[in-house]
Assembly symmetry: C2
Homo-oligomer: 319 residues x 2
């Protein structure tokens, strides 16, 4: 067992929390084992927060928004943890989200805890470590967890799969430039928030809002929640409270429709399935026999000289 | 080796083809092995068709559309195979797609081959068998494969993952009733075709078309193809040729942008990965130890009394 004082962590001690997170993020086998023991011990204290995913392409003002949003929440008496899933680090060289020095005001708050993205993930990737960090923050008394990511590749799906509410930040824009939005986003978002609705952009923001409202209207799902489009200005701290009010309204509705806890239970079950497959992938990757056979088989499958079924069977028989 | 005459199959003999498909659909271990040998032998003759997925909720007129579309293609000198992935059979009792008696005219055509959905799937599910059947049809000289499914659950994704072009049929509709469209569809569809644009519905169909064009416009991806929205009447055989012209245009563009074969290669590689995991799942399901442990572990994970990581490790260690 590690030397981390879990009672201190439960009391909200930042050093104990930071040490526990470092342990969770470690790649050493012994640390992984210790981390899992800690996580299991604190599980009863977890789950009491609302977990909010915040995504958006670079340039939408994520940091400014989170700073303003976080300060608003703290002013209302909440404890806010800001975590990040940054798909760019470290393999593709350099992080997209930058580091924690971005949110200067928020980082000075007693009731805010900001943790940059883990620099790399072993099993389950960076997302797995962020999941585990989220649990530690909950045990330390943070009742609102913001998980930040960029609108790039797989990371949005990973974040959406660990939060209660998924919010996508956008900028005022119209016409042709609107097309940058990825198709999948409409499927993930519980809300789009058009940031930078200030100065000369106020009208454009309103137009953008109605554009997306129409799009959502066309494809709305008909369950208890229809994705909402809001506008705000993080810079001028305008309409920030609307965003929080909306999330509270979502939570009430989700709890009332028995969806809130069901969603979390499903996320956990899915996560278990994913981890089983990842652990098996790890074994496949560590098997020298599999590694010697795989490239040739993949080539054969792609070139149509063997069937995927035959190739798969050959691989699994090596396990 | 089975007693199926592959030379006859290659010459387009319908009986040889039907026998080979029956073998592919069999659940017996020996039949699976025989089927894989046949598939490997005919692989060089496969891949020369265009594979088109056709989806739509019950009531959009899929059978009528496929009948009209198939007859149009045959009149142009093509050989058309119609396969189906019916997610409803057999577990949930009764098929949604019905059986082949639906397409009466088409089924009498010499150059059409209609095969209902396999009644159940072993490995890879119903979709795996349809994939394999598709290869057999290609070897038998069918140069257009239509894979039909319903807009329900996972089956659309499965079909989209095995075809070159994915077409979603819809009905003229507007306002509130439009909302039935699933969010994910926008991500899958290469084209929406509004069927039943006839009689009093012509105007409504035009409106519906512009609705969806707007929605696609908002979320378009910016690569070489932007999803198109067409209208047609399968009943009156109006604008059916537009659909085929569009697909030909798509194919030219996809080939020109090196996307056509790349997409198939990726589909094959993904399929291999999926089959490896399914074979492993099968082993997990057949392991009495795993089966004895799993339910309790799942409950623990959902109730937060163990971490997904710990549970996953316990399962994999049993393999």
């Amino acid at each position: 067992m590690s030397n981390i004082d879990l009672d201190l962590l439960r009391q909200g001690n930042r050093r104990a929390l930071a040490k526990a997170i470092t342990l969770v993020e470690s790649k050493l086998d012994q640390h992984r084992t210790d981390a899992q023991e800690i996580l299991e011990e604190i599980l009863p204290e977890t789950g009491k927060s609302i977990r909010i995913g915040i995504s958006g392409i670079p340039g939408v003002g994520k940091s400014t928004f989170i700073e303003a949003f976080g300060q608003h929440l703290i002013a209302q008496g909440h404890k806010v943890a800001v975590l990040a899933v940054d798909p760019s680090s470290p393999l593709r060289g350099g992080s997209i989200l930058g580091d924690k020095t971005r949110m200067e005001m928020l980082s000075r708050e007693e009731n805010a805890f900001i943790r940059p993205s883990p620099s790399e993930g072993a099993l389950g990737g960076v997302a797995q470590k962020t999941r585990e960090t989220m649990l530690l923050c909950e045990a330390a008394g943070y009742d609102i967890i913001l998980v930040e990511t960029v609108g790039v590749g797989q990371s949005e799906y990973e974040v959406a799969a660990m939060v209660d509410f998924f919010l996508v930040l956008m900028i005022p824009n119209a016409g042709d430039e609107l097309q940058g939005i990825k198709r999948g986003i409409m499927e993930l978002a519980d809300s789009l928030v058009i940031n930078k609705a200030d100065g000369e952009s106020v009208n454009l923001a309103r137009k953008t809002k109605s554009h997306y409202q129409n799009a959502f209207h066309l494809i709305k799902t008909g369950n208890f929640w229809n994705p909402r489009v809001l506008t705000c200005s993080a810079l001028e701290k305008n309409n920030i409270s609307d965003v929080w009010d909306m999330i509270c309204e979502y939570k009430s509705a989700a709890v009332e429709h028995n969806f809130f806890h069901e969603k979390r239970a499903n996320q956990n079950a899915e996560w278990l399935k994913k981890l089983i497959h990842e652990l098996i992938d790890m074994r496949l990757n560590h098997s020298t026999e599999v590694q010697a056979t795989m490239p040739e088989l993949q080539r054969k499958v792609i070139n149509n000289s063997t069937t995927p079924y035959k190739a798969a069977k050959q691989i699994v028989d090596l396990l």
